[in-house]
């Protein structure tokens, strides 16, 4: 029982940055913008967060710096993609490569240096509770941060007016424009907000989950997984967070598997989430293929199952909106 609780605690910890990144991208994509720069953004903000906390001795200042860097990269994407009408996919991809190299270049002097990390928080009184105490009694602050972010994102998206505007500009920018919403500005805001969350994910890596900075840091590739989880999560914050924890569970079990199969070299387990990513995308998207729909039509009992998997992307995802072209 204790091992089980500790495994859950480890999954929560490993999943925290993935959750933050996934929520950030979900916010951005809900507004209709694809931010493909996640992988590089996480790395650059991880570097910035570590460098800042090592220089000023304050890890929370580092987290702030990470969020700022994430927002800045998203801002570049937002300005070029939304206002200058260039391809979001292309710009996002360039930004990924650029920020990755920038992280290695600027972080050169901080490589393998000591620096503070966020440490652990202990919630008084909870530590003695039987099962929950082991999971939540003493945890990294990023775990609490990620759990709070899930609740906040869900509440914001589905229970506030701001969230309604967010969904409106992603689903139907023309209608939103007709209602007097400044579509491009709203999109830019959510691009920035999402980027800030992604930046926090970077900080969570370098200050809590994999403390330190070096080449490689260990969070390379996480951004791509997060991008896939957004699709897996069907652009819903709670489902996306569950997806993130699912992948974290895979990573954690990879460590156990390594003990069971010592003959398989360790680096192989690091790429294990990627075939899983492809398979989950396959499972999620197959329901919309013509030949799969034919099979479902012939066997009605499959319908309920396929419905539970079916997801819809925000209708205007990745499309430009130019108010001058009118309604």
């Amino acid at each position: 029982m204790d091992t089980f609780a500790l495994t859950i605690a480890a999954i929560l910890m490993a999943g925290a940055p993935l959750v933050l990144a996934t929520l950030g991208e979900t916010l951005t994509e809900k507004a209709g913008i694809i931010n493909l720069s996640l992988d590089g953004s996480i790395l650059l903000s991880a570097m910035a967060a570590f460098a800042c906390s090592a220089t000023f001795g304050s890890p929370w200042l580092g987290m702030l710096a990470g969020a700022g860097v994430g927002a800045a990269i998203a801002g570049v994407l937002g300005l070029i993609g939304i206002y200058l009408g260039q391809s979001q996919l292309a710009v996002g991809f360039i930004l990924t490569l650029l920020s990755r190299d920038l992280a290695y270049f600027l972080g050169h002097n901080f490589s393998r240096q000591p620096g503070p990390d966020l440490g652990l928080w202990t919630i008084p009184g909870l530590g003695h509770a039987p099962f929950v105490g082991l999971i939540f009694g003493t945890q990294s602050p990023v775990v609490y941060l990620s759990l709070a972010a899930i609740a906040f994102c869900w509440w914001w998206m589905y229970r506030t007016e701001g969230g309604m505007r967010l969904r409106a500009v992603g689903e139907s920018p023309r209608a939103a424009f007709g209602r007097g919403i400044r579509v491009r500005l709203v999109r830019l805001y959510y691009c920035l907000a999402g980027g800030a969350l992604v930046g926090l994910a970077g900080g969570a890596y370098s200050l809590a989950v994999k403390p330190g900075w070096g080449r490689p840091q260990g969070c390379e590739g996480a951004g791509w997984i997060a991008l896939a989880i957004v699709i897996f999560g069907g652009w819903h914050p709670v489902r996306a967070a569950l997806g993130a924890f699912f992948f974290a569970a895979l990573q954690v079990s990879g460590i156990y598997l390594q003990e069971i199969f010592p003959s398989i070299p360790a680096p192989v387990f690091q790429v294990a989430p990627f075939p899983m990513m492809i398979l989950t995308l396959l499972a999620v998207n197959m329901g919309r293929m013509g030949w799969v729909q034919d099979i479902v039509r012939r066997h009605p009992f499959l319908k309920a199952f396929s419905k539970s998997w079916s997801i819809e992307a925000p209708a205007a995802l990745g499309q430009d909106f130019d108010p001058k072209k009118g309604l």
């Binding site: 270049f105 699709i231 680096p267 192989v268 293929m289």
Partner: protein
Amino acid sequence: MNRDSLLAQTGWLALALLLALALTVIVALPAGAPPLETIYVLFKGGVSSWSKIGRVLAGWVPLTLCSVGLLIPFTARLWNIGVEGQVIMGAIFATAALRPFENGGGTGVIILALAASMAGGALWALLAGLLRVFGRVHEIFSGLGLNFVALGVTLWLIFGPWKRPGVASMSGTKPLDLSLWLPRLGNLSVSWVGLGLACAAIVLVYFLLYRTKWGLKMRAVGENPKAATLFALGPRRRLLQAFMLCGGLAGLAGATQVLGVYHRLLPNISSGYGYTALLVGMMASFRLPLVPFICLFFAILNVGSIQLPLQLGLDSSLSGVIQGIMVLSLFIVQGLRLWLKQRKEND
């Protein structure tokens, strides 16, 4: 936009270059890089001697093979981000074909390895294509996932079944027999076979895309997939063909890395050329005539950047930073141009 005069075009290009230069200086200064000296070291490190030019050309070959290959799927508006994995798979297949000939072999064996590498790259690309056509997995994710899977396969081979007798390490498999190395061009570290293959690929892709019916249909698929379906141009089959051709060329790039540069299989066998090739493609706006020159420029940057840690104590990833900034600047300037044009039309 095509109606702009040559002078205006050059002006915009110059603006993009200036912007790139300014941005590079801004990001490089905090790392303590003196701007002029850094640029001087970069270019001197790339072209100051014949042996360096040889290394530049050795980098130009795989980069050109990948970039030119990428034009084919891009013509059909497909993002083959899996080039990196296709290069790696090509290298793995080439190594697999060479393994039975540990004690040496002739030209026939080398040709076999080149063919195997093309098959490997094409197969890996086909997988991404099939996932897209029959599974609706966007090619960006399938390609990327497969890149990492290919890397995993390389690592497993190097540390497992193909490990060097005695020690398994990141330095790769046992070096190839000397008779299996691609013949060099004089004393340079580049092979004339590789150069020939790259030039042939340029001609081949040009011919395929602009001089055959196949290329015309491919462009039609890219311009309007719905119409292409109505006119029975077979977009799905064409899509798979485009991926496989690109993958084959990328695989060939992997073979030149194994046979001509490293003479063994390494974890870093692709040297990131797959990703750089995407930058090249975007920088050239996927116009074939520009591709070889941009590849040459990027290759010079890559080779020159090796001098940065030695002479200035900077990280060599600056070359990647400059490449990224250049493409980004081009996009910014293109966007500004569009914006100005629209403003003029509205007035």
